[in-house]
Amino acid sequence: MNPALRVAVIGAGPSGLYAAVDLLKRHPEARVDVFDRLPVPGGLVRSGVSPDHALRRAVIAVCERLALGSGRFRYFGNMTLGEQFQVQDLREHYHAMLFASGAGSDRRLGIPGEDLRGSHPATAFVGWYNCHPDHAGQRFDLSAERAVVVGNGNVALDVARMLLLPVDELRHTDMADHALDVLAESRVREVVILGRRGPAQAAFTAPELLELATLQGVDIAVEGALPERVADAGQALRLQLLRELQQRPSSGAARRLVLRFLSSPEAILGSDRVEALRIARNRLVEGADGEPRAEATGETENLETGLVFRSVGYRAEPLPGLPFDPQRAVLPNAEGRVLDPERGHAPLPGCYVAGWLKRGPSGVIGTNKICSRETVTALLADASAGRLGAAPQAGTELPALLQRGREVLVDYDGWKRIDRQEQARGAPQGRPRARLASVAEMLLTANG
């Protein structure tokens, strides 16, 4: 019997898993196969969320339980679009495909010295301490006393916290072993976080700020005046928390976090490695859209540092065989229907997008649930209106496209073997898990 709707979801991060769960719930006969380029699912919930926030990772297990409970869900890990399979292969097997592979690259600063030794994307550091196979083998030299993080979103605050927390507070977490070892030897005593605009426009959330206030052994300096006028209640709360931090007397702690605003990096200085960061001082002016915008005052300052992390946003890369909007770094879409710029922006039949690949890198984990729901609504409407395009020719058996990647495929059982192994490795030390650091190790475990 041919089921009514077979969907391939590409990417097993929060947006892909939320989409899979929503599809399975709303279409009683839909069959959903979720693909990921890594053996293990979770995306940034696994490799972005910081180790001391691991409670948030539970959302993946909830999605897993809901998807599995349907009996109509399969997982195909370690399968990369453009390598083991192509969009055309998906067309032969599925009525629809939903792309949710996120924004894996980082935005660059575009300033001189950006590639000096000691200058890193924050995403690489986060991937490293979270044991992402792409980053686990990197090296971070933490022998400098001061580190600077450019950008002040939650990722920037995570990086600062990992650098400043006593390593003993991280030993019970799922942080990578190699990161624990390096952090134990770290000489970093001060982290300066730079924001281009003012405190009211800062990108971090109130809970992250509240958490900073509870850090033991870390003094927090909030530099500059805090504005009285606010745009909304959320901003008012963040400013109130900043004010409390600012008024707190210094305890003379050994480690220090500095929140600096109205500051743009102009150049990273050094002969063969980072020695200083030239910072331009900004003021706020009203932009054409009414939003406050940073404008250089002409004043600059050199801040001595051996370590610079850029944390100014993620960026999606084009997917092979699909249209791409290089300006916004998303798949061009309307409500999640992928549009084809070469055919007057008409919807590309059977192609959908969700998450950061759809709307750009914004929001928190759950923002993707609503985003994915909108896409699933479009997909289901098209399915019932007969707008998905030609029906797939192949059957529901393990797709032929997977035969080619058979030696590297990690299916649901394989993933669970990795999951159990990681938990077993962590248990003796009272940790939720101790992760496998390479795809090779994961494959060995999955096949074991």
Binding site: R56, G234, R238, G363, V364
Partner: protein, 87 residues
Amino acid sequence: MAYVIVGTCINDSACVDVCPVDAIHPRPDEPGFVRADMLYIDPQACIDCNACAEACPIGAIYAPNKLPPQLERYRQINALMTRGIPA
């Protein structure tokens, strides 16, 4: 007394779907949702039914008498951030 959402909140909104008295904001269909740092429970509207705490995928909602002392601030923040929102 009322239930309290704490800073671990990921805006999953499963709590909003199950709340029988529409006490949790911003809802996904409210304008503030997309930019909300987290979700909040209006203590004036909450009826202590526990549905939200059961629905939360990550355990970010506490019964009023079970809120850990170090998270006490969130009781006030939930009240503050839902003030003026019609229940």
